[in-house]
Symmetry: C2
Subunit: 148 residues, 2 copies
């Protein structure tokens, strides 16, 4: 993929939609683009977390290990991001993320993540918004589970 095509692909990710193309070139250079086959793990629960991931194409499952075995808690589609909890909270990976199809994934290191957030407040706002939505959903699911 040419640099032009890479920048174009990044612009279609909502998280980066408001960033100037010239700045996206830097991101295209400094992030890693990885290809996963179905069944391969992007990260494993319990591992140290040094990066977050953005699904550029394909899908991945979020899987939590329980005493009763693996439990799939979410499926991530194109443009989803995942893995931010470990880099924000300095805790081990809270789940395994596994490609459920061939997947193209942007790997953003912890260092690059904090640079992006510092330079582009809009990215921070989008991540906060997504975290707030997930927290709202999880809190509602918890209330429901407790009431059951």
């Amino acid at each position: 993929m040419s640099l032009h095509e890479e920048v174009d692909a990044l612009r279609r990710v909502p998280l980066f939609a408001k960033i100037e193309p010239s700045k996206l070139k830097l991101l295209a250079f400094t992030s890693e683009k990885l290809e996963y086959q179905r069944g391969q793990d992007l990260c494993k629960q319990g591992d140290a977390g040094d990066a977050m991931f953005i699904i550029m194409a394909g899908e991945a499952d979020v899987i939590v290990n329980t005493p009763n075995g693996e439990h799939t808690v979410a499926r991530l589609g194109k443009n989803s991001f995942v893995g931010e909890i470990a880099i924000l909270c300095d805790v081990p990976r809270t789940a395994t993320v596994r490609a459920s199809s061939t997947a193209t994934v942007l790997r953003i290191s912890k260092e690059l993540f904090f640079r992006l957030v510092g330079e582009f407040p809009q990215i921070a706002v989008e991540i906060m918004r997504e975290l707030a939505h997930r927290l709202d959903d999880t809190t509602k699911a918890l209330a429901k589970a407790k009431a059951a």
Copy 2:
């Protein structure tokens, strides 16, 4: 309280610790400082959310209405912030927040919140970190409730 004392109080809030005192003057001018008596509500579940709150002194309970009545899900102490979900997600208040003692509270409007986050990435990082922690805690509680 003098402006100097107000700025000093703001500097002791971890969310604002890294902001220059000259900028904190702006925050002291543009945010509202409110006093609540024990039992008074900062916000009510179901209401539209147009501000977040930072507890400067005292304590407040986070209360969720369930079919079985009110359920206190958390107690917030000094320097906690709350109410960010409604302004980030444009959803009604997901809980009632009620002063459990006399409390001094900084009310930050939605507009000011987005200005602060845009101008001070460090605030965005601290909020993301706190949201990520809460999400991690809630996800673990959900897994436990489902396993029970």
